[in-house]
Amino acid sequence: MQIKTLTAIATALLAAGAAYADNAGPNDAQIAAIVVTANSVDIDAGKLAEAQSDNKDVKAFAHQMVTDHTAVNKQATDLVTRLKVTPEDNPTAKSLAQGGQANMDKLKALRGKAFDKAYIEHEVAYHQQVIDALDKVLIPSAKNEELKSTLVKVRPAFIAHLEHAKHIQAAYK
């Protein structure tokens, strides 16, 4: 079980609203850093799963995570570059990166079905938590309209990924 990792991510994302000055939530530069880190964490896990899994469904899902989250990161990076916003590191982004690294460390020690199960389980939890963070913290806090609409636009991708991951997870129960 990877309760520790999941708890770290959940705490990082859901506490985001309380971790900033006068509880106003993260500013746009901090949101940019959170978005880029959240995607990067899933790209890293996806690359590992693509290389390490022997299951075709898990590999295909992992490949899709790398493709989609890379596309989202490119969009986010292009936007903040155009808006002249420099992503600003913050406690949420740091916790996400640490949680992602803990997940990688755990996954690297696993093989076969145990790896697939742990990877998919984490993907289900991760996508659910990012959706919660988008709804409760990131979208409501975003000030720039283009940044806000980009966050709204990426949300359905996280929903589709969550459903896809849950579908695969059902095979491991």
């Binding site: 596309a71 359905p156 589709a160």
Partner: protein, 107 residues
């Protein structure tokens, strides 16, 4: 005037059955969905899928494969064979839609 009208009628009769000009139909890919989810076209018409999402998508059905359609790009398909086609995005199993192709002469 009457002669001209009669001439026009004969002209039309000689031309055979009137065929509607081929049309182009658009399916927008947005919010991880194909919109509209069902489309009816006539053989000879063209369907254009436009990817308005951030992530890449594709259109895949029996005998139909678009390959990757990246954000902001489109893929055109000329519907020739009549029938009902269900298609998916092979990258995102939650995305399903369909289109029907009516024979060219059908009304």
């Amino acid at each position: 005037m009457r002669r001209l009208f009669t001439g026009a009628l004969i002209g039309l009769a000689l031309a055979g059955p009137v065929r509607a000009a081929p049309q182009t139909h658009t399916v927008n890919i947005e919010g991880m969905a194909f919109r509209p989810a069902h489309l009816v076209v006539r053989a000879g018409d063209t369907i254009v899928w436009r990817n308005q999402d951030i992530v890449p998508h594709a259109v895949s059905a029996a005998g139909i494969a678009s390959g990757e359609i990246t954000s902001g790009k489109e893929w055109r398909y000329r519907a020739v064979k009549a029938g009902d086609f269900t298609y998916i995005c092979p990258y995102h199993p939650t995305m399903k839609a369909s289109f029907s192709v009516k024979p060219e002469s059908a009304k």
